[in-house]
């Protein structure tokens, strides 16, 4: 059964799409029904972070083993991660319009962090396209990827913890912290996280296969 994660991802995502809208949720101030966004917005970000981590690991492997396949994989993982950042932004932005009253705000370190990490990965893609030699491209882009990943994590993980964030769960906002998220919600949230991560991994494998077939055809 090497396709188990694909089947699970379909089942989990369908389940969260249906049950995520039907199940009872706790009534919290401001959030109310919009708390259901936790089932979609947060798991998509987790999937993106997962793909970025895969990209980092493949970049490190590309550097240490000097292998072009790892470089291709790192690029594909970054591409899939970047792709996941778009629905992550959209769901967050729509949610923010109805709870914070604005599409985008510069007050929140997480929003700034996301914008910066998207810029970092765009820079990574541009760097890749500006070098022609394959081995050289693999090394240079891997170095940038490792450095950028660390900086992105400083931004996403560390800075928001030092200042108040508008995000639920931070700075005294009501949220899905371990006290607010009841068992009904956990029943949807955890499968949703797994489902989207499996889905991102599936996309990543498809992208890899396409790249390797293309490479073979070119040879």
């Amino acid at each position: 059964m090497k396709n188990w994660y694909k089947i699970l991802s379909v089942i989990f995502i369908l389940y969260t799409l249906v049950w995520g809208l039907l199940n009872p949720v706790p009534r919290l101030d401001i959030l109310n029904e919009t708390i259901r966004n936790v089932y979609y917005h947060v798991p998509i970000w987790f999937a993106m972070l997962f793909m970025m981590t895969v990209s980092l690991i493949q970049s490190i492997l590309a550097l240490t083993k000097n292998n072009l396949d790892n470089d291709t994989k790192a690029f594909n993982a970054a591409l899939v991660g970047f792709f996941f950042s778009l629905p992550g932004l959209t769901t967050g932005s729509i949610w923010a319009k109805y709870t914070w009253g604005t599409w985008w705000t510069f007050q929140d370190p997480k929003l700034n962090g996301v914008a910066i990490s998207i810029l970092i990965y765009l820079a990574y893609f541009i760097l890749r396209y500006s070098v022609d030699d394959e081995m050289k491209r693999a090394r240079i882009s891997a170095v940038y990827n490792v450095f950028a990943f660390v900086m992105m994590n400083v931004f996403i993980m560390v800075l928001p913890r030092l200042t108040d964030s508008l995000h639920p769960g931070n700075g005294g906002n009501p949220a899905f912290s371990q006290y607010d998220m009841d068992n009904n919600m956990r029943m949807v949230f955890y499968p949703a996280v797994l489902g989207w991560i499996f889905f991102s991994f599936w996309l990543y494998n498809i992208k890899n296969r396409i790249s390797f077939i293309k490479n073979k055809l070119n040879d």
């Binding site: 910066i116 760097l127 050289k136 090394r139 170095v143 450095f147 660390v150 400083v154 931004f155």
Partner: protein, 216 residues
Amino acid sequence: MILSLIKKEILLEFRQKSTIGGVLVYVIGTIFVSALCFKGRLDKPTWNALFWVITLYTSVTISGKSFLKETGGQALYNYLHYSPTQFIISKTIYNMVFMLALSFITFFFYAFFIKNEVENLGLFFVVLTLASTGLAAILSLMSAIASKANGNFAIMSILSFPVLMPLILVVIRISKQAVDGIEWAGVGFNFIGILVALNVLTIALSFLLFPYLWRD
């Protein structure tokens, strides 16, 4: 070995008087243009933001060049004679010293032409020091990458702006405290801690990653 490399950098910089003069004229010109645009009507947050924007652009322009001259025969010579870690450490130290001098000069002219809004000067100088070393460390590695990627200036800024953002945001926050004249007891020392940590982290990463950029 590291010292001799730094000495070489300094000698090269001062032998080519056009670069060092160019840098000074660039900084003063930028500040003068901003002074004319704002005509002294700056409040404190704007003063702070403008100062750091000017410093950011100057540092990217200056540090962008630091690896660009190491191409062709020069690169081959370096490759044969020095180890990559010695090379990146000496480049980083040199850039740090250069950026330190430059940011203090920038501050002097900024205070002279526009005005000096800083009330806690000691704190501001601490921030200025840590910011210039951090900028120099990050930009040295970015310049090494950009020089390998055909070394045009656009690549340099595209690569560096996003990775500089964590540093710049922390810097702006503490610098705002210095401008507002917050007493030492109320200063956000955890932010200064982050700045130091970012410096150390960047140097450690350059140390680990630069050897992979070394070979062509």
